[in-house]
């Protein structure tokens, strides 16, 4: 967290300036329980699965909302955790989340087809005219 002279709070950027220097974010360095790791998503996912297998645990964030960039591993199922926490404004839940971009991704696929449809229509018109 950075606070400026105007007492403004900024969104966490995972201390990208420290990461650029090959260091780890301040929260990871400060954590007494050493519960966090940071790295490329595929490596972190591998570690998460290894840890989940080891402790017979559960993973959150791999599939939720199409896959998030924070992956949680817990020995307690997340639906149980979700029941135990207070949710509301500024207090996120741990329920399953649909991929909010799934429909947009379908539309993106349609964008590939659209120019082909346009070309086909123009060629069709041309052949009708030349007949």
């Amino acid at each position: 967290m950075k606070t400026g002279p105007k007492k403004r709070m900024y969104k966490c950027d995972r201390c990208y300036n420290l990461i650029a220097d090959g260091e780890v974010p301040a929260c990871i360095e400060a954590c007494p329980e050493d519960v966090q790791t940071i790295g490329p998503r595929d490596e972190i996912l591998k570690k998460a699965h290894a840890l989940a297998d080891e402790i017979n645990g559960y993973i959150y964030g791999e599939k939720e909302n199409g896959g998030t960039n924070t992956i949680y591993v817990s020995p307690v199922p997340f639906e149980e955790l979700n029941k135990a926490i207070e949710t509301g404004k500024g207090k996120p839940h741990l329920k399953p989340v649909e991929d909010t971009m799934a429909q947009a991704n379908n539309l993106a696929a349609a964008m590939l087809v659209a120019p082909i449809a346009g070309i086909a229509a123009a060629v069709g018109k041309f052949y009708k005219q030349t007949k």
Binding site: G66, G67, T100, M101, Q103, A104, N105, L107, A108, A110, M111, A114, P115, I116, A117, G118, I119, A121, A122, V123, K125, F126, Q129
Partner: protein, 157 residues
């Protein structure tokens, strides 16, 4: 320079309306993504509340982009196959084509940026955003000029 005074057009009247309405919705939904309509209370005007809904403007932008891509491909191929012999592009036609090509190219990259697992550098994404917005502003002003001075895309050879 050509004044494009000919009444014969490259495109049918329904085609013109299709183009205008697609561009209207692309512009509205595109500016809605910035997002400016809630901030400046335009979304408070009855009937315009949807302009402040992120996913609504996002889907409309994608849907209108699909129609616009199909329309653009149709116009290019139709011009090359059926109209190139009898008509040629005007200077303003070339300017508008170039601006639209830039808008489409940056738009395609922005769609790729939105796909899960895409890795574009943040500097490149900022460049794309500014490019897309800047070219759209230029295109709208050029279109306004062409509308006022009745400049056509093509003219008879």
């Amino acid at each position: 320079m050509d004044n494009g005074q000919s009444n014969a057009r490259t495109i049918s009247l329904p085609g013109r309306w299709f183009y205008l309405i697609t561009i209207l919705f692309l512009s509205l939904s595109g500016f809605g993504q910035m997002p400016i309509f809630k901030r400046y209370y335009i979304a408070d005007i009855p009937g315009l509340g949807w302009l402040a809904e992120f996913f609504i403007t996002h889907y409309i932008h994608y849907l209108a982009a699909i129609l616009f891509l199909a329309f653009t491909a149709y116009m290019i191929i139709d011009y090359l196959l059926s109209q190139r012999k009898s008509r040629r592009m005007t200077a303003s036609g070339y300017v508008r084509s170039a601006l639209l090509a830039g808008i489409l190219a940056s738009g395609v990259f922005l769609v790729i940026r939105n796909l899960a697992g895409s890795h574009l550098s943040s500097d490149f994404i900022i460049f794309l955003d500014l490019c897309h917005l800047g070219l759209v502003m230029a295109f709208l002003f050029v279109s306004l000029y062409c509308f006022i001075y009745k400049k056509q895309w093509t003219t008879i050879r």
